[in-house]
């Protein structure tokens, strides 16, 4: 039976198990919207800005592990997705963005709402396509999902000219994908695994350094098993929050620029570091020449380009983390060596515990002012540690990472690589769509929230009950912090004197608004806000002078931390 490209598109999505699309209509995709209107299998969430749509698909993917899907029109619709694509690309998030395009004959003519989105998005997608023939459409859709979700995941864009969407063709969704230039390597080399284990067992001061790859590989259980088997302390990156229970005695919390004192000290004094799905980002290593000066490095990653990119690696292992960790576990499970190793490394764990005692994560309460860290602690309490937390970018993000304990993967959603302000609210909405029964909280700042606040309308329209907590300090706080520390306190353009009344703004959108201005109120206001139906915005007026500590100044080694 012949179908139009638009009908093929909708049917292919449904057949691939896509339950929801985040999108925004326009001229070039009208035919798809017409086909969507008549279908019952794929739900559409109408965002208010295409950047919001991509972050929603991203939040959906991070919370659920499924591939997020977006649909936008040509030209500005497509260009508005670029920040979302770059965000997902940096954090390796599987999503597929479908954009409309002007008819094939008009491409290159500067037609109305034309943009070369395939060219524009090339450096911020894992791969992208321009569909030139309706007969290729189903195959390309299948390939797009395959590429997005396999190997090191990432965003894929599919650009569909209008004439392709109206042309007829047979529906032919291939069962398998054949791509002769794409073969991710999943199996870690047994000999490399063996060398790694021999290396680890010969050392005395091991640290596991785990990143977002562990979430992508669904390898948290394996990571925890290996860590406990050998009693190796685990530090995680921002992207790795929750891959190892933060409340476990072996957890060191986050490392890097705003990492814990003891995690940074442990990394700097370790004699072997096992990097698992992490990429030695500059925010993690500090001054790279002085990073982990005493350590041999084992690096496990599915993407060979991550290995040897920033630091020299002694034992590289390319493969799926789950597979490699299982092989590592098999190597020592039930063996005397494991028990002996736990004993041998006891002194090392004692040393780390001592560091943790001298400089714990803390802050100084101030009379009459709400400390933002206190607010995050109260969010943890009220949510009983069971929320999915999305963050914006800046101080709010760091406090959310430091003062909330993440015990489960896929419960901390944050733009780690690109650092995209405005990510949190739409990501929270996407996560809530994927996980309707969960409490989803966006920990926001007054600056970041304004970058995509229009998505409150989306939340209200679709009854998506996200809870936004704004740590309102009247500043672009993280930039202000740098100005205070490194620019003699000249707060150039970081004060936000004109902040909307967030409570009334929430109400204007049809959401509920709450406010806390005193420390004593915080707990109850959060409790009331979280219990309220529908989307809620809670404005918490916090101490504007508060800083994020510890802090490793950019370019300094990890041991040179500024402390509270």
């Amino acid at each position: 039976m012949q179908m139009t490209g638009a009908e093929i598109f909708v049917k292919a999505l449904a057949d691939l198990g896509v339950d929801v699309v985040f999108g925004f209509p326009g001229g070039a995709v009208l035919n798809i919207y017409d086909a969507l209107f008549r279908n019952t299998r794929v739900r559409h969430v109408l965002c208010r800005h295409e950047q919001g749509a991509v972050h929603m698909a991203d939040g959906y993917a991070r919370a659920s592990g499924r591939t997020g899907v977006c649909l936008v029109t040509s030209g500005p619709g497509a260009t508005n997705t670029v920040t979302g694509l770059a965000t997902a690309y940096m954090d390796s998030i599987p999503l597929v963005v479908f954009s409309g395009q002007v008819p094939t004959l008009l491409i290159g003519n500067d037609a109305f709402q034309e943009a070369d989105i395939v060219g524009i998005s090339r450096p911020c997608t894992k791969h992208n396509y321009l569909v030139k023939d309706v007969r290729d459409l189903a195959r390309i859709i299948k390939e797009a999902f395959y590429i997005a979700s396999t190997g090191r995941p990432g965003p894929v864009l599919v650009d569909m000219p209008k004439d392709v969407l109206v042309s007829p063709a047979e529906y032919n969704l291939p069962r398998e994908v054949k791509l002769r230039g794409y073969h991710p390597n999943y199996e870690g080399h047994p000999r490399q695994v063996e060398s790694a284990m021999r290396m680890i067992l010969s050392k005395e001061r091991p640290v596991l350094y785990a990143g977002g790859g562990v979430i992508l590989s669904n390898a948290s259980a394996e990571l925890a098993e290996l860590a406990r088997l050998l009693a190796i302390p685990v530090t995680t990156t921002l992207m790795g929050m929750g891959v190892f229970p933060g409340s476990d005695p072996l957890s060191l919390g986050m490392l890097g620029m705003h990492g814990t004192y003891w995690a940074n000290m442990a990394i700097s004094h370790a004699d072997v570091i096992v990097a698992v799905g992490a990429r030695f980002d500059d925010r993690v290593t500090g001054k790279v020449d002085e990073f982990a000066p005493h350590a041999k490095i084992v690096h496990i990653d599915i993407d060979p380009t991550s290995i040897q990119k920033n630091v020299p690696v002694d034992i590289p292992i390319v493969g799926d983390l789950k597979d490699v960790l299982r092989k590592m576990i098999r190597h020592v499970k039930g063996k005397k060596e494991a028990a002996a190793y736990r004993e041998k490394t006891g002194a090392w764990r004692g040393r780390i515990a001592a560091w943790a005692k001298t400089h714990p994560l803390t802050y100084k309460p101030a009379k009459g002012k709400i400390k933002p860290q206190y607010v995050v602690e109260q969010i943890y309490k009220v949510a009983k540690g069971k929320a999915i937390v999305a963050t914006e970018v800046g101080q709010n993000q760091m406090w959310a990472a430091q003062f909330y304990t993440y015990d489960m993967p896929r419960t901390f959603l944050s733009s780690g690589g690109l650092g995209t302000m405005g990510y949190g609210l739409p990501a929270a909405i996407g996560a809530q769509v994927a996980m309707p029964g969960r409490l989803v909280v966006d920990i926001a700042g007054d600056g970041s929230i304004q970058m995509n606040i229009q998505e409150l309308a989306t939340a209200v329209q679709f009854k998506i009950p996200v809870k936004v907590v704004i740590l309102n300090n009247g500043y672009l706080g993280m930039v202000r912090q740098w100005q205070e520390l490194f620019f003699e306190g000249k707060y150039s353009h970081t004060r936000l004197p004109q902040i909307p009344d967030f409570v009334r703004l929430a109400e204007a959108y049809g959401a509920k608004g709450f406010r806390a201005t005193k420390t004593e109120e915080v707990h109850d206001v959060l409790k009331e806000g979280f219990a309220a139906d529908g989307p809620v915005l809670i404005d918490v007026v916090v101490d504007p002078a508060e800083m994020v500590y510890p802090m490793v100044p950019a370019g300094a080694p990890l041991t040179k931390m500024l402390l509270v």
Partner: protein, 158 residues
């Protein structure tokens, strides 16, 4: 160090810009780049000459491999290979110079492909050393223009 990399790619729309964009986006440099179809019309070969330390070249090879339409990446550096470049040169051929140009063309086994009053156009192929030497010898006679293809390379043996 300089590396000659042979890259087999799907012969499809946009693949050149993917490769070029990879180099520019990551700050790798391209000294020369040649692209043409192989015996399989669906596959093109790019010969890229680039330079960088070992770590950079390792990244270049890995990043190229990561591109979906890239089928195979071979670093020909240090391997037993034949490397050639085609050069077209316009050179002064006035009375005194004419004989010298003809002599050099003969010595370097080049070919005169176009003749104009006081100007010869010469076609020459060779490896890097030969091309350099030829151009160096012609320079005092007055080179008006040079067009080079960039290098292509193939491994020796079957």
């Amino acid at each position: 160090m300089r590396h000659t990399i042979s890259v087999l790619v799907e012969n499809e729309f946009g693949v050149l810009s993917r490769v070029a964009g990879l180099f520019s986006g990551r700050g790798f440099n391209i000294e020369s780049l040649c692209v043409a179809e192989t015996t399989d019309a669906g596959v093109s070969r790019m010969t890229i000459v680039t330079s960088g330390n070992d770590q950079i070249v390792e990244q270049i090879l890995k990043q190229l491999n990561k591109l979906v339409p890239v089928l195979k990446v071979i670093d020909l550096t240090g391997a037993d290979t034949v490397v050639r470049e085609l050069v077209l040169v316009k050179v002064n051929a006035d009375n005194e110079g004419k004989q010298e140009v003809l002599r050099l063309v003969d010595i370097f086994r080049a070919k005169i492909v176009d003749v104009a009053p006081r100007c010869y156009t010469i076609e020459m192929t060779g490896g890097e050393g030969k091309v350099q030497a030829f151009l160096q010898m012609l320079r005092p006679l007055g080179i008006k223009d040079v067009v080079r293809t960039g290098k292509i390379a193939i491994s020796r043996g079957a």
